[in-house]
């Protein structure tokens, strides 16, 4: 079954309250860190753990922490990125609403490690009900002396606040998030300087995903080396996967990194197979921004190795035959799915969410949506298929932030793996646009 490092107690009645959470071992990492460890020792444990950013980029968390600039007399901040908006992903919402104290504990231990005395949780505005759950839990933590002045008599002060967004996927990008936290439009900043040097209010800041912070307590409690024993290669520990789309059992699953993809899709322990007795056609394995893969390439690498739910295995083959673990937003598509329509849907998303600063993204996402719309509706040409690949290439690498790549990659991958389906929309427009029409030319049946 695998260890549940984060969600072991998720179904305990009252686990969202301080008392029950504490009774089940909660806040031990705060005691251990504040009473027996220096901040740098905490950072070391996180480094040893091999924990990688769980928001989608997979950057080693300990390394990010060690980059934090520490000029004398300048406040530092730990900011939790709870803006979860990557299509297909809903694990942070799950964690925060069911285990608010886990995040708070991680924020306290993490803030101590980084020398922050004020920290923020930036949560997307749509999750206002979760914000209230967090505020209630924070109030309990203050009342119990785990927040505020002189925590546990250690001399360490910390104030923790929750701050809502208001509907902007781009605010999940760390510098856009900071702009938004400062009360402005969510326009990403040029990097360098990185937030570690100049972040919130121009001060040194670390921005981490909810799930990354939630892993800090267990890493501190058991030690980074122990955490690193779980998983495979550079994919250590456990990860929450958001299974959705055409599965029998969509939902949140905490996995030790390394479970085979085939098992994740078909086992009754996890996805339970494809709904309505249908066949799997394609998977977007890590949130909408990662390349889509057809059934045969998601189950096995191009070399014929079974794919595992790890960073390395899912990236095997680069973008030619591989994808990315990303946010773990695992979207399964059955044989009735129109890949062209799905690609258009994602393009519409990125166009809608583009902040508009960079011309290649602002204009490029607009063109992708427009051309995909006409392809989907039977008004496209064969040239359009090459055109969207070309537009995607012109966005990639030419933008301030990775939303450009996020918009480009799904289009490039869809055409790479499903070009015949796109061509069918051009050569057989009447068939392709009939309600319920399904292209079956590229199916690999079991």
């Amino acid at each position: 079954m695998g260890r549940k490092l984060l969600t072991e107690h998720v179904n305990v009645e009252g686990i969202e309250t301080f008392d029950v959470y504490r009774k089940h071992g909660g806040y031990r990492s705060v005691e251990k860190a504040l009473k027996t460890m220096t901040p740098d020792e905490v950072v070391d444990e996180v480094k040893k753990s091999g924990l990688r950013g769980r928001g989608g980029a997979g950057f080693p968390t300990g390394m990010k922490w060690s980059f934090l600039a520490k000029p004398e007399g300048v406040p530092r901040y730990l900011v939790c990125n709870a803006d979860e908006s990557e299509p297909g992903t809903f694990k942070d919402r799950y964690l925060m609403s069911k285990l608010p104290h886990l995040l708070i504990e991680g924020m306290i231990t993490g803030s101590y490690a980084l020398g922050a005395n004020t920290s923020y949780i930036y949560i997307r505005g749509e999750l206002l009900y979760v914000l209230r759950i967090l505020e209630k839990a924070i109030a309990e933590a203050y009342a119990a002396g785990f927040l505020g002045k002189n925590i546990l008599g250690s001399g360490y002060d910390l104030d923790l606040h929750v701050h809502p967004g208001a509907g902007a996927y781009i605010c999940g990008e760390e510098t856009a998030l900071l702009e938004s936290l400062e009360g402005k439009r969510g326009n990403p900043r040029n990097k360098p300087p990185f937030p570690a040097v100049s972040g919130l209010y121009g001060r040194p800041t670390v921005v981490n995903n909810v799930e990354s912070i939630a892993a800090v307590p267990v890493i501190v409690n058991e030690g980074g080396d122990e955490y690193a024993k779980i998983g495979v290669g550079k994919s250590t520990g456990t990860k929450l996967f958001s299974a959705c789309g055409h599965l029998n059992k969509p939902g949140i699953y905490e996995l030790e990194l390394g479970v085979p993809v085939e098992e994740f899709i078909y086992s009754d322990e996890y996805g339970g197979g494809i709904w309505k007795g249908r066949e799997l056609k394609a998977v977007v394995a890590g949130g909408s921004s990662v390349p889509i893969l057809p059934k045969e390439l998601i189950l096995k690498t191009a070399a014929g190795e079974p794919r595992l739910m790890t960073y390395e295995s899912l990236s095997d083959g680069g973008f030619v035959t591989g994808t990315m673990l990303g946010s773990g937003g695992f979207i399964a598509m059955d044989e009735t799915t129109c890949i062209v329509r799905n690609t258009w849907n994602f393009s519409r998303f990125y166009h809608h969410e583009s902040c508009g600063q960079c011309s290649p993204c602002r204009e490029g996402t607009g063109w992708l949506e427009k051309v995909l719309h006409r392809l989907e509706h039977g008004h496209g040409s064969l040239h359009d298929i090459d055109l969207i690949v070309s537009v995607a290439k012109q966005i990639e690498g030419n933008t301030i932030c990775p939303l450009g790549e996020a918009a480009a990659w799904p289009v490039a991958a869809a055409v790479r793996h499903f070009r015949d389906e796109f061509e069918w929309h051009v050569t057989h427009p009447q068939e392709a646009t009939r309600p319920g029409a399904v292209y079956r030319g590229n199916l690999v049946l079991a």
């Binding site: 979860e84 908006s85 990557e86 299509p87 297909g88 992903t89 809903f90 942070d92 919402r93 799950y94 609403s97 923020y120 997307r124 505005g125 749509e126 999750l127 206002l128 009900y129 209230r132 606040h161 701050h163 809502p164 967004g165 208001a166 509907g167 902007a168 996927y169 938004s180 936290l181 400062e182 009360g183 402005k184 439009r185 969510g186 209010y201 958001s242 299974a243 959705c244 789309g245 055409h246 969509p250 939902g251 949140i252 977007v284 909408s288 937003g329 979207i331 598509m333 799915t337 329509r341 799905n342 849907n345 994602f346 998303f349 809608h352 969410e353 902040c355």
Partner: protein, 188 residues
């Protein structure tokens, strides 16, 4: 500030909440409270934020009106035109589309008499399409204020949602807790 300053005022409850929020940020960085204050303003003034309300927020934060206009026009949760009593925010992104959000939207248009982007003739419902709400495992989903209505893949589920909304007493609703209703389905 604005000429002939707005006659609008925040209610005492809203003012108290704003005061509390301002303590979250350094004193010289009160503009950080912009987004949460705009949420309060939207709930306070009928579910949308008029130019006058935006001016009120600028006054409250002691900043120029343009600094509020540029924020109010950027974020999708802020409604800049009048809305019905309940705004139904229907997720339209990929994973929800795969589980029937298109059909759900068409069904809601038929039942309410509103097209997407419009308010129903009886003023009850405004239909708004939104992007991924982080409810993909329980698709398709509609958000109304704080509440997530999930697994809306049957007519019964939709009827239950609309019935619950119609039965709510007619006043600005800041919080679902005030109405004693749970804020989300229990899932997983």
């Amino acid at each position: 500030m604005t000429p002939a300053a707005t006659q609008l005022q925040f209610s005492p409850a809203a003012q108290a909440e704003i005061k509390r929020l301002l303590t979250h940020y350094p004193a010289e960085r009160s503009k950080s409270a912009m987004l949460p204050i705009l949420h309060i303003a939207q709930a306070e003034f009928g579910g949308w934020i008029s130019p006058e309300v935006q001016d009120l927020v600028a006054e409250t934060l002691n900043i120029k009106p343009i600094e509020v206009y540029e924020v109010a026009t950027f974020y999708t949760m802020y409604n800049l035109k009048p809305v019905g009593r309940h705004v139904l925010e229907i997720c339209r992104t990929g994973p929800c589309m795969l589980r029937g959000s298109d059909e759900l939207t068409q069904h809601l248009e038929r039942i309410t008499g509103a097209r997407v982007g419009e308010t129903s003739p009886d003023g009850e419902f405004t239909l708004k399409e939104v992007e991924c709400l982080a409810a993909c495992g329980f698709a398709p989903v509609v958000q109304v204020r704080e509440k997530y209505y999930e697994k809306l893949d049957t007519e019964e589920a939709v009827d239950a949602m609309l019935g619950e909304l119609r039965s709510l007493i007619h006043r600005p609703i800041l919080s679902w807790e005030e109405n004693g209703l749970p804020t989300s389905l229990q899932n997983n």
